[in-house]
Amino acid sequence: MLYREAGDYKKSYAEDSQTFPLKLDRYGYYAILAIAFLVVPFVINDYWASAVLIPFLIWSIASLGLNILTGYCGQVSLGTGGFMAVGAYASYKLMTSFPDLNIMIIVLLSGAITASVGVLFGLPSLRIKGFYLAVATLAAQFFLVWLFNKVEWFYNYSASGQISAPTRSMLGFEVTGPAASASAKYLFCLVLVVLFAWIARNLTRGRIGRSWMAIRDMDIAAEIIGVNPLKTKLTAFAVSSFFIGVAGALFFAVYLGAVEVGEAFGIQKSFLVLFMIIIGGLGSVLGSFIGAAFLVLMPVLLKNIMVIRLGWPGDLAGHLELVIIGGIIMLTLVLEPHGIAQIWRVTKQKLRLWPFPH
């Protein structure tokens, strides 16, 4: 009734191929952006920022990155945690070596460093495919974490082996360090999320994105029609690692503040991001956001219900959470292998015709 395309005339190719071709979608998107930028920063409090909003934004960037590699280019990676660690340690080294450098530049540079590491570990993907590659990326995960744990140069020879973020500001507001306000951190992450979502969306619908999808659907056939597998796979690894590196840098500098590598960037994190894109939807920008929101919100919600409301012990709630996450993963794959994003698409399709379907 309300959601329909009647009267929404397209007068040019550009209008027809825009990201939100329907007016209602477009206005909805603008409204969400307006609320996120103009309302949320003024009403946000520390609990919501640190428990829900900032982790959601950071994991969104990470799952956007993994979705480019796994969802669009079909290369399953279990090295996400390791690449996030590269981003975190790169930002730490940059922050301590160049105190005057702007934090935004530092975050982007850490992404670039991670991208080069990602390309290095992406090289075997030319020979190794499928879950052989998934296991091979574990090499990146374990080697990188070990490296940051053992080589003292990376944590500036500190006694505890931890790295902690010094205070840096952006436009006069502190975004890292203990005194940074919740809304400054939130806005800093939000700007990056919007930027990266825009980049991801436009990369994936252009020439590069189409060659990624061709490689995903059948790499030999793609090679025969003229897609260069070397270039395509390595760009996917580079772009994906860039996103993941930025997420790692934010996770360390803005969100946690102090990090111990094995704990913060272990193999569990690799699985977490993989689960986000499975649940949200492989090969979908929206899916990355839905998946991140789902897996950030669900533990908070479960903890609220089980530990705070019902008064159950924390470890019991933790075990139940594992059961529920595992169950949801299996259920998603059995019922809808394309994730929640696909359910959303189907719903929209139905809504267009409602209440008078054919």
Binding site: P124, A136, A139, F143, K150, L316, L322, V323, G326, I328
Partner: protein, 336 residues
């Protein structure tokens, strides 16, 4: 220098034994992969679950005691009996077979004809699920398993090698037992798959799903059998690892160690799993021995330690670049 060589040999033999333990886990993978093309990430969690169930049943724990206590406010934890080991083992095998049936009925049946990578991710979900269920059922505290292993083998080896080289090798009793059990398992599996009707059906399914279906082999019951056998192997592996380092969460992480073993040996080969395990086991111990030794430090200017965390993966990665199907795997042929 000669004593350095002896220490190195000792490290290598210990690595060989650890490698056999990795192979025990890898065997379960190979069985499932051959017969259904599923890469079962949950194998390690199955080992944990098997060991937890065995200890739980034997010591008479009440399943889901924590959950029941939390919901109803009761304070139950034990039935108050201890079962004999044989009975507990039989009951645990029963549980593993039931588990195999449930997995087939509620997960695999719905995922037939999906891409391998989707199936792989489904088993990751299964691994999380099982881990949670295992902890809920039996609690997450570290449990001990005492195996009735004859003592004194290592003493004999120690004194023998002392007589020969003037330096006694220390090898853990448990590792020797594990090696013997692994050999017995492989022989038993080979006999089973070569000489029994079910074994022949199993090989037929591994060879070609559709051809096997067309001669009247029920794919679904074969899958239940295979998952049951894999569950049994997981139980053995879980008990051996549990006796070594206690039955606890970290047991499920041996999956991660079994993965490079498989890649090295090839996903479809039982001997490959054993030999791959040995190569990885020896390789990581010897590599650690070399790079952490003082003469390496003198020569290179630095030493490394705790390289066991990543050595296996990097070795497998480098190996795969040159031989993508592993040592004994079937050649990968791709067509458009």
């Amino acid at each position: 220098m000669f004593d350095q060589f002896l220490y190195g040999t000792e490290a290598a033999i210990n690595g060989l034994m650890t490698g056999v333990m990795y192979s025990l886990v890898a065997l379960g993978f190979v069985l499932i992969f051959k017969s259904s093309g599923i890469f079962n990430y949950a194998q390690g969690v199955m080992a944990l679950f098997g060991a937890l169930t065995l200890v739980g049943i034997q010591s008479g724990q009440v399943p889901f005691a924590h959950l029941i206590n939390a919901i109803f406010g009761t304070k139950i934890h034990h039935f108050g009996w201890t079962l004999p080991a044989i009975l507990a083992i039989v009951l645990t095998i029963g549980v593993m077979i039931l588990f195999a049936w449930l997995v087939e009925r509620y997960l695999l049946k719905h995922l037939v004809n999906q891409e391998p990578i989707i199936l792989f991710m489904a088993t990751i979900g299964l691994a999380y699920f099982m881990e949670g269920v295992g902890d809920l059922m039996w609690g997450s505290d570290i449990k001990k398993i005492d195996l009735p292993i004859p003592q004194g083998i290592n003493g004999t080896i120690d004194s023998l090698t002392y007589d020969w080289f003037g330096y006694g090798f220390y090898i853990d009793n448990l590792d020797i037992a594990a090696a013997i059990i692994a050999v017995v398992l492989v022989v038993a599996l080979t006999i089973f798959s070569q000489y029994s009707t079910t074994g022949r059906a199993l090989r037929a399914v591994a060879d070609d799903h559709q051809a096997a279906l067309s001669v009247g082999i029920s794919l679904r019951s074969i899958w239940v059998i295979v998952w049951g056998i894999a569950g049994f192997i997981a139980l053995v592996a879980g008990v051996m690892w549990g006796a070594k380092s206690g039955v606890q969460f970290s047991l499920s992480l041996i999956t991660l160690k079994a993965l490079p073993v498989l890649m090295l040996g090839g996903f479809t080969s039982i001997p490959g799993a054993i030999i791959g395990g040995m190569i990885i086991g020896v390789g990581e111990k010897v590599f650690e021995f070399i790079v952490s030794s003082s003469w390496f430090g003198d020569a290179m200017g630095f030493t490394m330690n705790a390289t066991e965390n990543w050595f296996a993966y990097v070795l497998a990665l480098l190996f795969l670049v040159f031989r993508p199907q592993g040592l004994f795997g079937d050649k990968i042929i791709e067509r458009v």
